[in-house]
């Protein structure tokens, strides 16, 4: 969290800066209060709207097919449906995505891995549960290996029902998410 994260300086500079003071207050404190002030200004409205406009129009999702819905996810990115129209496109690494699509059954074996992937996505991030399996377990609701309630592990913003949902429903789901981001009604309130 130091200055060496921003400007390439040795970490020792960080330590040195911690000792500095401005008007009797530590420099790091000043930095934090300034940041907080800026955040307050952003939260007031207009700037936040611009930021959310950017966020909602550039939703990159994690390429992670998990079942029947995974096929529709692939088709969703292709002509006829063409998610690129909305500024939505898939990336393979969680570091560069905004939306995680849970497109299928989460099993006991896969749960730690997918949770880890979710954790590795930088903020702000959203998660969509697509298909019955991701919502409730779907046809496998009583299986011994399925975690049938995904919303316990992920703060899901949009549920898209269907088994599997058609690609149009994917678009609908993303539109709903965009609307939520615009209204600032998503779970994390960006």
């Amino acid at each position: 969290m130091g200055i060496s994260d921003v400007i390439p300086l040795p970490v020792a500079v960080d330590k040195e800066l911690e000792k500095w003071t401005i008007w009797g207050r530590p420099l790091t404190d000043v930095w934090f209060t300034t940041t907080e002030k800026i955040h307050e200004i952003i939260d007031m409205g207009p700037i936040k709207n611009v930021l959310n406009w950017g966020r909602k129009n550039s939703l990159w999702f994690l390429m992670q097919p998990m079942g029947c819905c995974g096929v529709e996810m692939l088709v969703f990115g292709c002509p006829h449906y063409d998610c690129d129209r909305f500024g939505i496109f898939p990336r393979a690494t969680p570091r560069q995505v905004d939306v995680m699509i849970i497109s299928g059954y989460i099993t006991r074996k896969y749960l730690p891995a997918i949770k880890n992937l979710w954790e590795q996505i930088p903020e702000p991030k959203w998660v969509m549960a697509i298909g019955e399996c991701a919502i409730s377990g779907g046809p496998f609701y009583d299986s011994y290996n399925i975690v049938n309630d995904t919303s316990k592990f992920f703060p899901i913003d949009v549920f898209v029902p269907g088994c599997p949902p058609r690609p149009e429903k994917f678009i609908e789901g993303f539109r709903a998410l965009q609307e939520k981001i615009k209204q600032r009604e998503d779970k994390r309130g960006y």
Binding site: S4, D5, V6, I7, P8, P10, V11, V50, L51, W53, G54, R55, K56, N57, S58, C78, P79, H80, D82, D84, R85, F86, G87, R91, A92, T93, R95, Q96, D98, Q120, P122, E123, P124, Y190
Partner: protein, 346 residues
């Protein structure tokens, strides 16, 4: 009158004049290049859509979707910035900065067309060096170093493989590319890009077609675009050297690729396609060179996008083999050809 005053001042205080010109031009050029590169990203997505029977972005900013890139930029600005625990922090932080800064170095020496004032052709270039072709080629290859920095410092296996691939690819194509530049310089009797452009009464693409092909291939390789995008082959090594980069750091690395694509295409136009040469258009003779220049540039850029959507990817060993075993000997042949033809012209 102002012009003459400036010239006088330049004659008296060349150092200060250079400083001022440098600052102003750098600021202007940096913003122009950034905007053009953004438009390039947009152009690529749109043209790719056209090739692939779809629309491309069309929801943000009217029916052409021009504001899509603005939205992407705003998004990247508000993303959290993650530095992995295992990363080599200083190198990790430096890599995108080096990448962007070195592209600016290229931009400083590259002519961006010319204008005709009083029947005199004035090239739009900041540092009109005698060896600018050599300098540009050298500065372009620093990009591979920044990619290596990014890949190596991430402490991620995908990034690491991407970094090694990037370096291997760069060194395999650096030599043929350099020899191509020499061949061109021999025919033009100069290493100055402006003079090379001016020397092209016949475009060098006609004078040395082999050289053009080699240079174009090597350029695509340097840019890391489609048949040669092994460093970030999504299906093999996730996102290659920028796997661990997130938010604005990724944005910078990603964006820099497009800036380099733009600059590389300009270099190709200058070296082989006659730069801004073309018949003077009577009424708008002032910007007639610019029109020719931009037409050629757009054709080259669209051709690059076309190549991207229509070719599968090489395997990395095939790439190095192609560079060392085919292009390098061929470029030597081309050099000999240039010497012989150049002697004839001389």
């Amino acid at each position: 009158m102002v012009l003459s005053a400036i010239t006088e001042f330049a004659a008296q205080e060349p150092k200060i004049y250079g400083l001022i010109i440098g600052l102003v031009a750098a600021a202007i050029l940096a913003s122009v290049i950034n905007v053009v590169a953004m438009l390039l990203v947009w152009l690529e997505r749109k043209v790719m859509g056209d090739f692939q029977a779809r629309y491309g972005p069309n929801r943000v900013g009217g029916r052409w979707g021009v504001l899509q890139l603005g939205a992407d930029a705003v998004k990247l600005f508000t993303k959290e910035d993650v530095i992995p625990r295992g990363a080599d922090k200083p190198v990790f932080v430096w890599a995108p900065i080096v990448a962007v800064a070195t592209t600016m170095l290229v931009a400083g020496a590259l002519p961006f067309g010319a204008v005709i004032i009083d029947g005199k052709e004035i090239p739009l270039v900041v540092a009109n060096m005698d060896i600018s072709a050599f300098y540009i080629e050298a500065a372009l290859s620093i990009m591979a170093i920044s990619a290596f920095m990014a890949g190596w410092s991430s402490n991620n296996k995908y990034s690491m493989l991407g970094a090694f691939r990037g370096i291997a690819r760069m060194i395999a194509y650096e030599v043929p590319m350099g020899i191509c530049v020499i061949s061109v310089a021999i025919m033009a009797h100069s290493l100055n890009v402006v003079e090379i452009v001016q020397a092209q009464s016949i475009w060098f693409v006609i004078a040395q077609p082999i050289g053009f092909v080699i240079f174009a291939i090597a350029l695509i390789t340097d840019l890391g675009r489609m048949p040669f995008d092994q460093t970030e082959a999504e299906e093999e090594i996730i996102a290659g050297y920028n796997t661990e980069y997130s938010g604005i750091r990724f944005g910078l690395l990603y964006f820099q690729e497009y800036i380099v694509m733009l600059l590389g295409s300009i270099l190709l136009v200058h070296l082989y396609l006659g730069g801004w040469n073309g018949p003077v258009i009577p009424v708008i003779s002032f910007i007639s060179p610019m029109i020719w220049f931009f037409m050629k540039l757009i054709i080259v850029l669209v051709a690059l996008i076309w190549v991207r959507v229509s070719l599968p990817r090489f395997r990395i060993d095939q790439v190095t083999d192609l560079g060392w075993k085919i292009l390098l000997p061929l470029s030597m042949v081309n050099l000999a050809w240039a010497v012989v033809v150049g002697l004839y012209f001389a």
